[in-house]
């Protein structure tokens, strides 16, 4: 259908800006379900209640209490380039779980149909017949894991995959050995908070020599009002093993901000490989910046063994505020760390994200590719540290930080820190900042393509290097999501 260009032709971008409201957050619905929630507020009693609800062993309660006491001594971090009113930690509900009809081991048959429907609607069917072939899913709803698919199939090869609570019951020795070993409870303010009140999450153990036969994935959903989500993920890849893990997340549209403070710990032993991919689509708030998730997450992987490799890939399109730095500690000789990131900040979203690559072992290598997209009033910050330790003979790092601006009200900021203590290190750093210009958009139009096509092709071209690191099903999803999140936001 032909549009009319009036004599006082608005520029293509202005016309698009006027359509800014057209982008809808598709995952914004609320599931009406009975919840078992505790009162709002945080105290030692609350920590004890959470632990008791989960019937935890004494050592875990002790871990939580130590973390809580330490957290009370810590100030909230102020160094990130994000702005938000102080969070009232006493107004948050720290535990909310959908009521279950049956206790004891859960099978898919016991899961409330409303929950199954919720995940179905989000495009994550939990019936194994309908599920994506080759992807096992652990579904976390508010504070608890509600279902895990393909458990039996994974069990056959010795892969342990399921909810964190279950792992505490069934494999306490593994949890005890690794919990807090990469991210200690005292690490930072939000990690301490998480360590005190975490409710569930995913646990994964790949035994020696096993290449996990399918993609493992956790789908996080916040549903209840005024509730924070504090999940904990622990992935251990034993010698010569390999696993690819995916994480997706959404939340309903609500006017108030909700807190999500997760901790993810990865451990890669000798010659093991962990690939961790995230497509983060928490509710970003509305176009005026009202509501949205505060996503304050600590993610860290330890390459403990020689020749081990940890690769982080993230596509961050959601959340009002993103504060996360998936990092690698390269302890083993010849170990490899990678960080591929696309972070998008549209409307009033703020993202402060990046990575830390800590080179300890000899001949360790790291690669950082960060792509920041800012639109509307969005503020996007890359913050990264590459540290080469005294003994990290022959370490190498390559960093590339690119920023793309859409419009003139947004911002891109880059804070790369480099700390080299061994003279044999080779460091490379490249950075670019570019803007989608009206001329570029008109170039597409003069070839028959719409302005929307123009933006999506430029953005996809910009992100190509990162998207190609994602597993196939996720890559398509991520491209769609980037398109949706940017709909109409050219300037």
């Amino acid at each position: 259908m032909a549009e009319t260009t009036t004599p006082t032709a608005m520029s293509a971008s202005n016309r698009l800006l006027a359509d800014l409201t057209s982008a809808e957050y598709a995952a914004g619905f609320v599931t009406d379900i009975d919840s078992d929630a505790i009162p709002a507020g945080l105290s030692e009693d609350i920590v004890r209640i959470i632990s008791a609800k989960k019937d935890e062993p004494a050592w875990l309660l002790e871990f939580r209490l130590k973390a809580f006491r330490h957290w009370q001594t810590m100030p909230a971090p102020q160094w990130a380039r994000v702005h938000y009113p102080a969070i009232d930690f006493q107004s948050i509900v720290y535990y909310s779980a959908p009521k279950r009809k049956l206790d004891g081991p859960k099978s898919l048959a016991d899961v409330d149909p409303k929950l199954l429907e919720t995940y179905e609607k989000l495009g994550v069917p939990l019936h194994e017949r309908a599920a994506l072939a080759g992807v096992a899913v652990d579904a976390v709803f508010d504070s608890v894991s509600v279902a895990t698919t393909f458990r039996d199939k994974l069990h056959e090869v010795g892969v342990i995959f399921g909810s964190f609570s279950e792992a505490v019951r069934e494999h306490p020795e593994l949890v005890k050995k690794y919990l807090g070993s990469v991210v200690p409870y005292s690490d930072n303010f939000y990690a301490a908070l998480n360590s005190a009140v975490f409710s569930d999450g995913s646990f994964c153990y790949i035994p020696k020599g096993v290449k996990c036969p399918m993609e493992l994935s956790t789908y996080f959903r916040i549903n209840a009002k005024n509730t924070g989500q504090f999940e904990r993920t622990l992935i251990i890849a034993d010698d010569d093993s390999a696993v690819s893990y995916l994480e997706g997340c959404t939340a309903p549209m609500r006017d108030e901000n909700q807190l999500h403070a997760a901790v993810v710990e990865l451990v890669a032993h000798e010659n093991a490989r962990i690939k961790y991919s995230t497509v983060q689509n928490w509710y970003p708030g509305d176009k005026d910046g009202k509501g949205g998730i505060y996503n304050f997450v600590t993610k860290r992987g330890a390459c403990r063994g020689n020749k081990s490799k940890i690769s982080w890939t993230q596509v961050e399109t959601g959340s009002a505020i993103t504060w996360k730095y998936p990092s690698c500690i390269l302890q083993g000789d010849d170990s490899v760390g990678e960080f591929y990131s696309v972070a998008l900040a549209n409307n009033y979203q703020q993202a402060d994200t990046g990575t830390k690559m800590i080179h300890i072992g000899k001949n360790t290598r790291s690669t950082i590719v960060s792509k920041g997209i800012s639109a509307g009033h969005g503020q996007n910050t890359y913050r990264g540290l590459v540290k080469i330790g005294k003994n990290a003979e022959g370490a190498r790092n390559y960093s590339q930080c690119d920023s793309l601006l859409l419009g003139s009200n947004c911002g891109a900021h880059t804070f790369p820190y480099i700390d080299v203590q061994n003279p044999s290190a080779q460091m490379e750093h490249e950075a670019t900042t570019s803007k989608i210009s009206d001329d570029q958009i008109f170039y597409f139009q003069s070839r028959g393509l719409s302005a929307e096509d123009a933006v999506s092709m430029i953005v996809n071209g910009f992100c190509k290097e990162v998207i190609k690191e994602l597993p196939m099903e996720f890559a398509v999803e991520a491209q769609k999501l980037l398109g949706l999140s940017l709909e109409g936001s050219v300037g």
């Binding site: 549009e3 260009t5 520029s11 003069s446 070839r447 393509l449 719409s450 096509d453 071209g461 910009f462």
Partner: protein
């Protein structure tokens, strides 16, 4: 094909076109010449629908319908093509993907099916050969890191693939050395056809030695001051534009 009647247009707030009239039929090649600031590029951009230009009067009929009722991308789908004086770079967007998307937008507009990547590759290769475009460039990102000459060549390659009814070439000769100019002109000549009209905007006569026009028009201060055959270009080459600027009435 194209009938321009008493066209007035501003670039920003500044009146540039002041009553321009022009008739272009299918198969014809028209050269628009004129001094800097006379409105040559403005005409090209107004026809393509570039933002920043405002039509303040007059009428343009393209294939017997009002052109300005169409959004820029719809004009392109209807067969209007602008070869830019300064083609922009599109980092990260591959030439092949870009052109196939454009071609499919045009095909969809005509009610035809999309062309798949394999069929398209064959078309692209054939057209690249026609306009002597290096295949390596075809596979690179649109104009990214291209030399001035390569960018102009890429414009002609795009024109060959998209097969427009009306091609407007805006100062295609600018910034080209003589060899590149000859090659680009040869590409354009291969694309001349009975159902395609071309408007060639140029400051210098030298391009017209290679692309011989059917008509030459001289644009002075937003109006066509003089029209003639290809020999007019040679006259301008020796006399310059000054005599027309001084005595437009007499010249007419």
């Amino acid at each position: 094909m194209l009938r321009i009647t008493d066209l007035h247009a501003n670039a920003g707030d500044k009146p540039i076109l002041k009553g321009l009239s022009l008739n272009v039929n299918g198969g014809e090649v028209h050269a628009i010449m004129g001094p800097n600031g006379s409105g040559k590029s403005t005409l090209a951009h107004v026809l393509a629908g570039r933002p920043g230009y405002t039509v303040t009067g007059g009428e343009v009929l393209y294939k017997s319908s009002p052109l300005f009722d169409l959004a820029p991308e719809v004009r392109a789908r209807e067969g209007v093509f602008l070869a830019y004086q300064y083609p922009v770079e599109l980092p990260g967007v591959s030439n092949l993907y870009f052109l196939r998307s454009a071609l499919n937008a045009i095909r969809r507009h005509r009610g035809e099916d999309d062309m798949d990547a394999i069929d398209f590759l064959a078309v692209a290769k054939e057209k690249a050969k026609l306009v002597e475009m290096d295949e390596a460039l075809v596979k690179r990102n649109v104009n990214e890191g291209f030399s001035g000459g390569e960018k102009k060549r890429n414009e002609i390659f795009q024109m060959a693939v998209l097969d427009p009814s009306l091609a407007i070439l805006d100062e295609t000769d600018s910034g080209l050395d003589i060899d590149a100019l000859r090659d680009v002109a040869a590409g354009v000549n291969k694309l001349r056809s009975e159902d395609r009209a071309m408007i060639i905007v140029t400051h210098y006569q030298r391009l017209l030695e290679y692309i011989v026009p059917d008509f030459v028009h001289v644009l002075i201060d937003g109006k066509i001051a003089l029209s003639g055959g290809k020999e007019l270009a040679l006259e301008l080459e020796s006399k310059g534009y000054e005599w027309l600027e001084k005595e437009p009435a007499q010249a007419r």
